[in-house]
């Protein structure tokens, strides 16, 4: 049995009472993240002020037998930041300093609580570019992005968070402080350890500082919308663009349900009569942008696009992308519960995957809205349902299981960017190769023999 008052006393000693939250109102508002259907109350929450304090918190966890759950701003979609039994939330969103933008080395050093969009604004003011742009970028933290290895709209051409992490500092579950990688573009000094923490979902260490790679800001960009009468046409177009060896910066797919919801919210005049649209952006030197845009229009038309429109200026382009980023939440307009998945397939399988999602939705008599980063095969089939209807919820479960199955059969993966967390650990246990799972668990138990840090996430030991 953990002794809550002792724990609070100890944490107060570490960070001061003004940095420890214990009120039931605070606990309730830290009991969730962006994931539907999961919640749990923590014992209390703490805002550590220094790396040493984090180390002390983790040591205290061993001594007083409580669990520790790191948290950014709680936009995660697999339940990574949701408390576990007897846990203390370590809040990292206060760690929001951009420590250094190094224009000579093209790097930026940040604390983990920096909001992704704030980072964009800061580096773009120096003519630099940090590409990862998750839909949640105006509120999610870089620490969360690193812990989930988040992607975004620009992932197709520029890659995901891991492509930009050059170094990081972390506090390990037993309290020691490590730091791997640095501003060196090349660094092979020992095993590539920093990448173990990228995508580790807060179970291997608490990340306290990150060095990120920056690139020059692209000179020009062109944004367009292509509308299709069938989902298949849109899917085929995606595969055709890639097969033509064009890598747009953004290649996003929205089906009709999603288009309607987005238009309902953003009111930007999207036509709602088409079954699907693709939001496509090319960037780079102006001549290349013009050429690629022209070729893409050709491909779209060849594959049945009914209409292709350009954004007239950068504000209009920004509006379109902002509207796309709202897609997931906008789908919540339809039904009380919105459950989104993240199954990902190789890029040549986008059209068949979209077809399968339709078939499965019909089979289980469920309403789906599907959108996603089609260009990198990362689709978000989203079930619009009602958690109060047990019968329907059972069908939802079966449908998702089937979606995962077909995705894996096509050479895909359970999750492209949202992580396993609690929401998908059942499926990881079921579908992952036993030897792979075993290695992951071995790494976890080596670093965290007492299972202190975010236990029960990704897998059960």
């Amino acid at each position: 049995m953990v002794n809550k008052s002792k724990i609070i006393e100890k944490l107060t000693l570490i960070s001061g009472s003004e940095n420890v939250l214990t009120e039931p109102e605070d606990m309730i508002s830290l009991s969730y993240d962006g994931t539907p259907l999961y919640e749990m109350l923590p014992l209390c929450a703490i805002s550590p002020q220094t790396v040493e304090q984090i180390s002390q918190i983790l040591k205290a966890a061993h001594e007083l037998e409580f669990k520790v759950v790191p948290r950014g701003t709680g936009t995660g979609l697999s339940g990574g930041a949701i408390p576990v039994a007897n846990s203390v939330i370590v809040m990292m969103h206060h760690w929001d300093k951009i420590i250094e933008i190094d224009e000579k080395n093209l790097t930026v050093t940040v604390q983990p609580g920096v909001i992704t969009q704030d980072l964009h604004t800061a580096v773009e003011a120096c003519g630099l570019f940090y590409p990862p742009d998750p839909g949640s970028m105006k509120i999610c933290t870089i620490g969360g992005n690193v812990a989930e290895n988040s992607g975004g709209l620009r992932g197709l051409k520029y890659g995901v968070t891991s492509s930009y992490v050059m170094g990081l500092q972390a506090v390990l579950p037993e309290g020691s402080i490590v730091s791997f990688g640095n501003k060196c573009v090349k660094n092979v000094s020992g095993i590539n350890m920093k990448d173990i923490f990228v995508g580790s979902e807060g179970i291997l260490g608490i990340i306290t500082e990150i060095v990120l790679k920056l690139i020059p800001k692209p000179q020009d960009q062109k944004t367009m919308l292509a509308f299709f009468n069938t989902i298949e046409d849109a899917g085929e177009t995606v595969s055709a663009i890639i097969a033509e060896k064009i890598i747009p910066c953004t290649l996003e797919f929205l089906d009709q349900t999603t288009i309607k919801c987005v238009e309902d919210f953003a009111k930007i005049g999207l036509p709602i009569e088409y079954e699907a649209l693709l939001l496509i952006e090319v960037d780079g030197p102006s001549i290349i942008v013009e050429d690629e845009a022209a070729r893409i229009i050709d491909i779209c038309k060849k594959h049945g696009a009914q209409n292709v429109e350009f954004a007239r200026n950068s504000e209009e382009a920004e509006k379109l992308k902002t509207a796309r980023r709202a897609a997931f939440t906008a789908l919540a307009r339809v039904k009380p519960t919105t459950i989104l998945e993240d199954a990902t397939v190789p890029r040549d399988k986008v059209a068949p995957m979209l077809r399968q999602i339709q078939i499965i939705a019909k089979k289980y008599n469920l309403l789906f809205g599907t959108f996603g980063h089609a260009g990198d095969g990362n689709l978000h089939p989203t079930c619009l349902t009602d958690e109060r209807l047990t019968d329907e919820m059972e069908r939802v479960e079966l449908a998702f299981e089937e979606i995962f199955k077909v995705a894996l059969e096509m050479g895909g993966t359970l999750t492209g960017e949202h992580g396993i967390g609690v929401a998908k650990k059942k499926f990881l246990a079921k579908f992952e190769m036993p030897a792979n799972l075993q290695l992951m668990k071995k790494i976890k138990t080596t670093l965290d023999p007492n299972n202190i840090l975010n236990p029960g996430k990704v897998f059960d030991l």
Binding site: S29, T73, F265, A326, T329, A332
Partner: protein, 433 residues
């Protein structure tokens, strides 16, 4: 309190479940941005209310504090892609809080003063205003402020004193007759709500509104027996009083015969437009719904009827402050800007965070002075960095708060309503002729 009393029966499950806790509203919420505390965010508050509705949380002091800490600015509603009706959720919660809990003695007195005393009868408010004007004119204001004499009355009053608006030299009643015919052809019959605070602090804006309307083919009724719109009552939980005022006004404005009820104070407009929904289950729902459906903000109305663009030239640099109850409450953003930029020579310089609350928020600057002042400072800084000479604001509460901010920052900025500016342009044009 026993658990069965904890529930908020009038907030439906569906309303609360609409929030899928994505967090997209967090960066737009002033109380979250200032505190970085999840419970002071829209997502946090909705979850607290849901927990309360499910019987998992009691009506604790902390809960009530948190609900009252919300500005009800509704920036979260604008930001929320899921279409969560946050305003309805928070106002219903506050109503239940007001009904269920004993409000502290001080707040009760303050509320009584405001609700039954001041706002209920326009006449009484005007009388008080006259006293205040005397006090401002004679320099007693300076004296009282200087020696903190208001402190003798109460701490709260001391906080209010510097906020109290400059009282108009004349009230609407003295400036305008009850009926003004359209210049030229009559195309629309409209009524004008003169507003309580609007009337005593910005009566000239009411004059400007009427003058602009008659120059745009409107017959304008300004009934003297009109009552306060009822928003102050409703927002502080006195729902019955609010309804009484609404019904009184249905009759006073001849709601059946007019084309539109024109409002130039965003707070009143926002409340009136929502009143149909708030009282949808009331006996007199039909009349209130009609009142709601005919309510138009002055800028909105002028753009709808394609108002006449003035020909005069005014050399001015202005910036525009989006009142919460206009931008978030009524989703009106472009109409006031259209009016401002319709005037030749006027340059509109947008400020950062133009749709951030200025801290006025009803009685918020009285009940939460510290937070309100932080927001006001932030607003004034954003205004000053535009180098504009005039702030355009379309809501009385904001104008009073901004005036206070300008005064304390020692700036020379002037405040005008969009309609004041348009009236000035029409007047300049007529002088030229």
């Amino acid at each position: 309190m026993n658990p069965s009393e904890n529930t908020l029966p009038t907030i439906s499950d569906d309303l609360l479940l609409q929030c899928m806790h994505c967090g997209m509203c967090l960066p737009t919420c002033p109380t979250y941005v200032l505190t970085k505390r999840e419970r002071s965010s829209p997502r946090g508050r909705i979850r607290l209310i849901k927990s309360m509705a499910e019987g998992k949380l009691n009506f604790t002091h902390e809960f009530i504090t948190e609900m009252n800490f919300c500005l009800d600015c509704r920036a979260c509603e604008t930001a929320c892609p899921a279409g969560v009706h946050y305003g309805r959720i928070i106002e219903e919660t506050r109503r239940v809080i007001a009904e269920t809990t004993k409000i502290s003695y001080k707040t009760r007195i303050l509320r009584r003063l405001f609700l039954t005393g001041l706002f209920a009868k326009q006449k009484r408010l005007q009388l008080l205003a006259r006293v205040v004007r005397f006090y401002q004119k004679t320099g007693m204001e300076w004296f009282v402020l200087k020696f903190n004499l208001t402190g003798l009355f109460s701490k709260k009053l001391k906080q209010i004193a510097p906020l109290s608006p400059k009282i108009s030299a004349k009230f609407t009643k003295q400036l305008l007759p009850e009926f003004l015919p359209a210049h030229g052809e009559t195309k629309y019959k409209v009524a004008l709500l003169t507003g309580c605070v609007q009337d005593i602090a910005f009566a000239e804006t009411n004059l400007a509104t009427a003058e602009v309307l008659v120059r745009n083919n409107c017959d304008v009724y300004i009934p003297q027996n009109q009552a306060c719109c009822g928003s102050v009552h409703a927002h502080t939980g006195a729902v019955e009083l609010a309804k009484k005022n609404l019904l009184h006004n249905c009759a006073a404005f001849y709601i059946d015969t007019i084309d539109a009820l024109i409002i130039n104070a965003a707070g009143c407009g926002s409340f009136l437009k929502e009143s149909g929904e708030i009282f949808s289950l009331a006996e007199d729902a039909v009349a209130i719904k009609k009142l709601a459906s005919k309510t138009r903000d002055i800028s909105e109305f002028l753009c709808e009827i394609n108002f006449r663009k003035p020909e005069a030239h005014l050399d001015l640099i202005v910036t525009y402050h989006d009142a919460c109850h206009l931008a978030h409450g009524q989703k009106i953003r472009s109409a006031p800007r259209e009016i401002i930029t319709s005037i030749n020579g006027v340059i509109l310089k947008e400020m950062r965070e133009s749709d951030w609350c200025c801290g006025s928020a009803g009685v918020y600057n009285i009940t939460h002075t510290e937070t309100a002042n932080k927001l006001l400072d932030r607003k004034i800084r954003n205004i000053q960095s535009t180098n504009a000479e005039i702030i355009i604001s379309a809501n009385t509460g904001c104008s009073i708060q901004l005036a206070y901010g300008i005064r304390t920052s020692g700036s020379q900025l002037k405040i005008m309503h969009p309609i004041d500016l348009l009236w000035r342009a029409y007047q300049a044009e007529e002088r030229n002729e």
